[in-house]
Amino acid sequence: MNKEKTSNHIDNEGFYGEFGGAFIPEMLHPNIEELKSSYINIIEAEEFQKEFKELLRNYVGRPTPIYHAKRLSEHYQTQIFLKREDLCHTGAHKINNALGQILLAQKLNKTRIIAETGAGQHGVATATACALMGMKCVVYMGAVDVERQAPNVARMKMLGAEVIPVESGSKTLKDATNEAIRDWITNPRDTHYIIGSVVGPHPYPDLVARLQSVISEEIMSQMPEEPSHIIACVGGGSNAIGAFYHFLDKEQVELIGVEAAGKGIHSNETAATLTLGNTGVLHASMTTLLQTKDGQVIEPHSISAGLDYPGIGPQHAHLHQNKRVKYVSATDDEAVKAAFLLTQKEGIIPALESAHAFAYLEQQKWKSTDRVLINLSGRGDKDLSTYTKYNPY
């Protein structure tokens, strides 16, 4: 592998190489400064770690198991292991971050929580954490997503969250994020913004990565032998960073991030940011994004609302540039086929997002000695109507 020797981690100013930083309006300066100066001390303190770990164990159900998928392994003539994040409370890895950040918000004496959500998984996780802690919760969700993810909207409302449909722009995740940022600008004192992925201004990408790194920490101790490959889907990229985190400096482990190609990378209806995008600023971070030559953000497409994002976390942009992680893409069709195969072979219905990671199994020739670990980031209950409409067989 022809790889430059650059750090895989963040520098003191919040940059990963040329990516990251905090391109924030002055209105957010005090909030970001407060977070930046305190997040590491808070989350690494013994008291925080004790509370957080206890919640992860008894409330989320961690550690999540590693499951040796024997029939799928046989199908691909290799050894496949699944990290079962789909078994987390609320059905996906998103809860790890939401609980960590709500504890952080309490330490910062915040009383009101805001969040953005696309598919609704992060919104549900945040609403859950807020219900648990008795905090006020406002979730911004694109009006289009409110319509196509109705069950998650109902869950958030039952959990006591106020769900605000966002009517601006393309009415999807990007616009929900803009609106959450505007809310934070308007309510700088009492509010903490729980960003759902490794995106946004520094220190969010690093904060969310640290909170999700429990995934790779567990993988290290659970796998009988070190995996040869770790595969994860990438939208903003939080489950992927979580699964890669402790392996970033172990170069013998091949790391693969799978983006959503939508209807194909040449179809103009795609979310394959690293394949097609270039450097720019989105949601206060220098990263790779889908944009016109004038720098207007292009609306992406993916069958999976959780991967339907025109940018990507700055650490991924960096790991792509320094070639530590291999980034590939899978189309809507490939993802749905992979989901049906997993369901039929193993009795596990994956989230549409996670199905993209499984689609990569088709794209490479595997050796019988490979130990391929796939991060099964969420379960597919929320996607049943899409699956039944889309059955490729």
């Binding site: 391109f23 309006p25 002055e26 300066h29 505007r182 600008i185 308007t186 700088p188 004192r189 953000v297």
Partner: protein, 253 residues
């Protein structure tokens, strides 16, 4: 006229008007410049329409979308500026990604060729500006205008004061552009700014939509900046020049 000259010369309250280029029609910019100049506005802030304007409320988001649908681009804005013979001091306001894609050096060069003397980029913070772009902006004699808000600490206001070359843009309350709550609630904050005796003149923006708001802002600072209220006023205009004159007359009444 250059921005710095205006601020030095005039002692009367200064009225700055913001509008989005390419709005309401793609070629409205030259007409608006002429009308604002003849109607007696003191400076203009030309908005570069962007798909994701995170500091702006619904009115300016909407004018941005319309302008983009109309087909406006930064290059077209510069061409329209070249065709205008107005001398009113001109500032450009936009989001950093537009400038980054155009090329920072090329952008500064075009600004200085087309009579732009000040730049507001709300999402390019002072620290990154200093480290990476200050030299380029200075080479082209562009004043980088920084914002302060009611949440900005005195220490940081002083830092911003030290790095400002034309005026400081004081945001009157926490929030995005386009609320109509007036700025009377910002009295303490404006008094505080006044008491700091900053070396740089201050102009107030956000929440100014009526004559009494403008008067109030001018009582404590060098003047006021109006955006959303003007954009609403010209949104469905068939007589841009006439409607602009009417608006300026109203605000100064």
């Amino acid at each position: 006229m250059r921005l710095e000259e205006l601020l030095k010369q005039e002692t009367k309250p200064l009225l700055s008007i913001y509008f989005s280029a390419g709005f309401p029609q793609i070629d409205s910019l030259p007409v608006l410049l002429e009308s604002l100049e003849s109607a007696g506005a003191d400076m203009v802030e030309i908005g570069i329409p962007y798909s994701d304007p995170i500091s702006d409320g619904p009115t300016i988001q909407h004018s941005n979308s319309i302008a983009l649908e109309n087909g406006i681009s930064l290059e077209l804005i510069f061409q329209q500026l070249e065709s205008s013979s107005t001398t009113i001091p001109k500032i450009m306001m936009g989001y950093f990604n537009s400038i980054l894609q155009f090329g920072v050096e090329a952008f500064c060069e075009r600004c200085s060729e087309t009579g732009i003397t000040g730049i507001i980029l709300p999402d390019l913070p002072l620290e990154i500006y200093q480290k990476k772009y200050q030299k380029t902006f200075e080479k082209h004699q562009l004043s980088f205008i920084l914002l302060i808000t009611p949440e900005t600490s005195e220490e940081r206001i002083r830092l911003i004061d030290n790095h400002s070359t034309s005026f400081i843009y004081a945001v009157s309350s926490a929030g995005t552009t386009g609320t109509k709550k007036g700025i009377q609630g910002a009295k303490k904050y404006l008094q505080k700014i006044q008491s700091l005796n900053l070396k740089t003149p201050v102009m107030v923006g956000f929440n100014i939509s009526r004559p009494e708001d403008f008067k109030f802002a001018s009582k404590y600072t060098r003047g006021g900046i109006i955006g959303s209220a003007f954009i609403k006023h010209i949104e469905n205009s068939n007589h841009l020049s006439q409607d602009t004159h009417q608006f300026i007359k109203y605000i100064k009444s």
